[in-house]
């Protein structure tokens, strides 16, 4: 915390010089490409399209390519997922179909130059199950480095995750309250377990029965019709703080990878057994689903027709009942959720003078490293667009970031979000966070409020299924 603050302070001092430098750089570019641009477009902009996917993320970015070439625009897709229990404007294959049609509309080709999957949660990648994607042509796929399953230790990690998640899913949950159970199932589904209610529509149910988290990951790793770069980029590629690179797929853009940290320790931290407390409860004694084991004593030991109400008051019986199931499974599911969010890519895309901060669902652990890194903080100070992390939850957008790092001059922001029941979704998006952003003149536009009055620069589609932002760059 103090280290982070120190970094913030130092970076402030450097800010002025950094800014001057960047202004110089972009003005140089401007003059060079000024004539070319005029012919294709009045002003250079980045178009950011946020789809109302309900509880999930999907952003299509259209950025300037090489003017006067065949491809004046390049496209970036950041995540395409939704939650089966938090549906927005898209269901089943619709999201894939819509995005593909938009690719043609906006850039003239069924081509995604860069496809970014920030992390493996269903609400970020579920839609990659759709067969429609095979029609699309892909430049590159970017995934967090912990998805490089060619490495045995990473394969082992995910295998462990899978079996742990499965054991949590198999634990009896009938004793939990309806609300807690819903939350547990919500979290487990997001982690790739087939739990919770199926959609009422039988066709949709059949479709989802065939979809899976693993299949979506497989497609990201080596699916799609055509790929220029066979292997995904697993980011960051080295352990060096902020990693910056350029790619042919996005001419003129600089990509800064801020997270997840590429440290061997991260793998250890991602191991569910590090949280001994929750792990111990489930790592052992797998139980078949819903099958509560018989009570330990039976027959003559039991007082027949005993009335617990003579032993305890009604509120006491309630408390005993709520203590009995021990919220272990919910606790474990939350821990697992946090662990996977910790693998989330945190990127700053620098396109001309626009700097887009795309933090996925990164939580405090990742942010702690980022905020302690001077270069990262300096970069963040130049943010012009923020995708509010993790649907606006309480621990994905640190206080320091909002109050001390992000510029106070009207950063554009979007949040893909959907309120929902359960303690987990109850605070999504978190009012206190939204208020703090407002106080910094950041007014995030919400994916679930497409009919709201939108600030200048934003435009909702007529059917309210997406919102566009045009950002000068």
């Amino acid at each position: 915390m103090t280290a982070a603050k120190r970094a913030v302070k130092k970076a402030t001092a450097k800010k002025a010089t950094a800014k001057r430098a960047s202004v110089r750089a972009s003005s140089a570019k401007k003059t060079k490409k000024a004539s070319a641009r005029r012919s294709s477009r009045a002003t250079r902009t980045v178009r950011i399209r946020m789809y109302d996917v309900g509880f999930g993320d999907s952003f299509l970015l259209v950025v300037p390519g090489e003017p006067d070439s065949e491809r004046p625009y390049r496209t970036i897709l950041v995540d395409a997922g939704f939650h089966s229990q938090g549906v927005g404007a898209f269901q089943g294959r619709e999201l894939a179909q819509t995005i593909i049609s938009h690719l043609v509309e906006l850039s003239g080709a069924k081509r995604i130059d860069v496809l970014i999957a920030t992390h493996r949660h269903q609400d970020h990648i579920y839609a990659f199950n759709a067969a429609e994607w095979d029609e699309a042509e892909i430049g590159e796929v970017w995934l967090p480095w912990v998805e490089d399953v060619s490495k045995p230790e990473i394969r082992k990690l995910w295998k462990k995750h899978k079996s742990f998640t499965a054991s949590v899913a198999a634990a009896p949950r009938d004793a939990l309250s309806a609300e807690d159970r819903a939350e547990l199932e919500f979290l487990l589904w997001n982690a790739g377990e087939d739990v919770g209610p199926a959609p009422a529509d039988p066709r949709l149910a059949a479709l989802y029965a065939a979809w899976s988290n693993a299949a979506a990951l497989d497609r990201l790793r080596d699916g799609f019709g055509r790929r220029d770069r066979r292997e995904p980029r697993y980011l960051p590629e080295a352990d060096q703080g902020v990693e910056t690179f350029e790619t042919e797929a996005l001419p003129g853009a600089r990509i800064h990878v801020l997270g997840p940290p590429r440290r061997a320790e991260l793998l250890a931290e991602l191991d569910p057994s590090v949280d001994d407390e929750t792990y111990r409860a489930f790592a052992v004694a797998p139980l078949s689903a819903g099958d509560s084991p018989p009570p330990p004593f039976d027959g003559p030991w039991i007082v027949e027709n005993a009335d617990p109400a003579t032993l305890f008051g009604p509120d006491e019986l309630d408390r005993l009942a709520s203590l009995a199931p021990s919220g272990d499974s919910l606790m474990a599911a939350r821990a697992l959720d946090g662990i996977i969010n910790a693998t989330s890519l945190v990127l700053v895309l620098q396109i001309g003078k626009a700097r887009l901060l795309l933090p996925g669902d990164a939580e405090w652990g990742t942010w702690k490293c980022i905020l302690a890194d001077e270069r990262a903080v300096a970069l963040l100070r130049g943010t012009t667009f923020l995708k509010v992390g993790h649907h606006g939850s309480h621990n994905a957008t640190p206080k320091t970031l909002v109050e001390q790092v992000l510029p106070d001059d009207g950063v554009r922001a979007m949040v893909s979000t959907q309120e929902g029941p359960g303690t987990y979704r109850h605070n999504i998006p978190l009012p206190a966070l939204m208020a703090a952003l407002e106080a910094r003149h950041i007014h995030p536009v919400r994916s679930d409020h497409t009919d709201a009055h939108l600030p200048d620069g934003y435009r909702a589609s007529a059917d309210g299924r997406w919102i566009d932002l045009e950002l000068p760059c």
């Binding site: 915390m1 004793a175 939990l176 309250s177 609300e179 807690d180 939350e183 001994d276 407390e277 111990r280 409860a281 790592a283 052992v284 004694a285 084991p293 009570p295 330990p296 004593f297 003559p300 030991w301 039991i302 007082v303 005993a306 617990p308 003579t310 032993l311 305890f312 008051g313 509120d315 006491e316 309630d318 408390r319 005993l320 009942a321 709520s322 203590l323 009995a324 199931p325 021990s326 919220g327 272990d328 919910l330 606790m331 939580e363 405090w364 652990g365 942010w367 702690k368 309480h394 621990n395 640190p398 206080k399 320091t400 359960g422 303690t423 605070n427 978190l430 206190a432 966070l433 703090a436």
Partner: protein, 622 residues
């Protein structure tokens, strides 16, 4: 001394238990018969209990009740209770009753009064409360809930794969939980994690009771001495291990934790995780115990070895074992009493290890000026080598560790003398009606159980994590009483009025109401034979605006007054800017670990959630 042939009431009730746990007892050894003070037992099909313990074998997972054992059944009573067995649930009931009774007896003896639970309620023991790897004390139910679980299928240690493991059969777990309950009764504000040492004290204290209680069973001590040849700190010594069966059954490959190891003077300054801090406390106490024993038995060893003091190879002589064991047992019982008695000399809120150390030393000094066996000195040394020092005290010389007594020559305060006298009468009456008060239903015995609070906006899971703090204080002005026994209310009111008039002495603030959070008489016989009669009273104030929204900010003072009305000690924890700063730092540190949080409805309870008895024990047991 029977008065008539009809008088057959025994003094003690003999009951068999596992001295450690069923896993260790499998060889047939390590089952002991303990004697608990005889209390009339009320038997119902669904529960049994005496005047302050009720064993209710209700399983909230299956919603069924196991028939309660009839300990007074002649067939059971004449064989010192049921035979220890894992498959006999009634034996489980017997074991929790016996061990809990022994724990409470230790408290009674050390405190010089009979510990009673709030409003004469019974502490409820649920030997099979739920399926799960945990056991904990729930203050809202005033119940200890023991879980049961299947042993690890991969690494069950010395247990069978998938075998059911009952936490209620581990002697140390039962003692630990009941000690939590007793400490909570003595200091209700210690459930507020206002600094990391508060939950650590709760844990360390409960572990101390759990470790030392078996030392009061001679056959256990003899066995330990035979095994370790008198070196209890030897590696692998049973005495040092807590939760053996639990740890092994959970696939840990060993006991939950062990208190041995070389002391590290930097440890205390470095440590802030409450469980680790708690272990530090226990290891200090245990080391002091061992050093004292060694000193105390050096002469015996010299006698047995012809003056060399070097024990020969092989088995110790059985006579020597018996003599050593009795010295160890006596020392253990002194240590246990010393630790329990210290609680009377602690401030009612926000305690630290330093407060505990000073209370320990002072309480012992009050009763035993000379420290002939050197236990006090050993304690101080063992704390010192771990870096636990009395804060705001100049040097480590024994004297400066003592709490400073009030002026012994000051004229006695008649009001206080009056309060103590009334209290003594009340206390005497209380002792005389110590048998079962109400044979009626359990629920109605408790006049006013504390209402169970539930935050309406939280989900069940969060609500159960967030054990509420003692009370929401909205007293307009003046004095509030925690005492619910009507006969004691006037005394409390008198005490409150006195406290109001003596805020300066008590280092309490003028602008805040005072809560009388507890008062009780104390009778102790000093080794000199002198009868000490005193009153301990606790007064608490709560700041309206806490420096952190997570924790209430309170000040509190414990006073100890003699029967003549002299204030002997004023142990104050006043409002101080440093305390507020420490609290803020503690919350910031907690947040830096977990991520500073934006305010939500539940974020204010995050410390409570992390350090509730349930969460603390869950972490301890996993």
């Amino acid at each position: 001394m029977r008065q008539s042939p009809l008088d057959t009431r025994p003094e003690r009730r003999a009951l068999r238990v596992y001295a450690f746990d069923p896993m260790l007892a499998r060889g047939g050894d390590l089952r002991v018969t303990v004697e608990v003070p005889y209390r009339e037992i009320l038997h119902e099909p669904e529960w049994f209990g005496d005047d302050r313990l009720a064993v209710i074998d209700y399983d909230a997972s299956s919603k069924r009740v196991v028939r309660a054992v009839r300990l007074d059944d002649p067939g059971i009573a004449m064989q010192s209770g049921l035979d220890p067995s894992e498959s006999d649930p009634q034996f489980h009931q017997q074991m929790v009753y016996a061990v809990a009774s022994r724990v409470l007896e230790s408290f009674d003896r050390a405190l010089g009064r009979r510990l009673s639970f709030r409003s004469g309620q019974r502490l409820r023991l649920l030997p099979h409360a739920f399926r799960g790897r945990n056991a904990y004390y729930d203050d809202q139910l005033s119940a200890v809930l023991f879980g049961y679980f299947e042993a690890d299928r991969v690494d069950p240690g010395e247990n069978l794969r998938g075998q059911l493991v009952f936490t209620c059969l581990s002697h140390d777990i039962v003692a630990h939980e009941v000690a939590h309950a007793a400490l909570d009764r003595l200091h209700g504000y210690y459930n507020e994690p206002t600094n990391p040492e508060v939950p650590a004290l709760h844990e360390g204290f409960a572990d101390t009771v759990a470790i030392f209680l078996p030392f009061t069973y001679p056959e256990v001590v003899q066995r330990l001495i035979r095994q370790t040849r008198g070196d209890l700190l030897a590696r692998g010594s049973l005495a040092l291990q807590i939760g053996r069966q639990f740890g092994q059954a959970s696939g840990l490959g060993g006991a939950l934790r062990s208190v041995g190891g070389a002391p590290d003077p930097g440890a205390f300054a470095r440590t802030w995780e409450p469980h680790a801090l708690g272990r530090l406390l226990v290891s200090a106490i245990f080391e002091a115990f061992v050093r004292t024993c060694e000193r105390r038995t050096a002469d015996l060893v010299r006698l047995a070895t012809g003056g060399s003091g070097q024990l020969p190879e092989g088995e110790l002589h059985p006579d020597l074992v018996v003599r050593l064991a009795s010295e160890y047992a006596r020392t253990a019982s002194s240590v246990l009493s010393m630790c329990i008695r210290a609680t009377d000399y602690m401030p009612p809120v926000d305690p630290t290890f330093s407060d505990f150390l000073r209370a320990l030393v002072t309480a012992d000094f009050e009763l035993n000026r000379a420290d002939e066996i050197g236990l006090r000195a050993s304690m101080i040394e063992a704390f010192r080598v771990r870096g636990i020092e009395p804060r705001a005290v100049g040097s480590l010389a024994v004297e400066s560790l003592y709490l400073v007594p009030e002026d012994a020559l000051a004229p006695p305060d008649h009001e206080i003398a009056d309060v103590v006298a009334t209290l003594l009468l009340g206390g005497a009456r209380d002792l005389s009606r110590s048998t079962v008060r109400s044979p009626s239903r359990l629920g109605s015995t408790a006049t006013k159980r504390r209402r169970i609070e539930k935050a309406p906006t939280l989900s069940d899971w969060v609500a159960q994590q967030q054990v509420r703090f003692s009370e929401a204080e909205t007293i307009a002005e003046g004095v509030q009483l925690d005492e619910e026994d009507d006969s004691l209310k006037p005394i409390g009111a008198k005490l409150g009025a006195w406290a109001k008039a003596h805020r300066q002495l008590l280092r309490l603030r003028d602008d805040l109401p005072i809560r009388v959070s507890g008062f009780h008489p104390v009778h102790r016989v000093a080794p000199s034979g002198e009868l000490l009669v005193e009153m301990v009273a606790k007064l608490v104030q709560t700041e309206r605006q806490s420096p952190t929204e997570e924790l209430p900010y309170r000040a509190g003072t414990t006073i100890i007054a003699s029967a003549e009305g002299r204030i002997r000690y004023v142990i104050a924890k006043p409002f101080q800017p440093e305390r507020a700063a420490t609290m803020r730092k503690w919350v910031a540190r907690f947040d830096a670990e977990r991520g500073p949080s934006w305010p939500t409805e539940t974020s204010a309870g995050r410390l409570r959630e992390a350090f509730s008895a349930r969460a603390m024990d869950a972490r301890r047991l996993r």
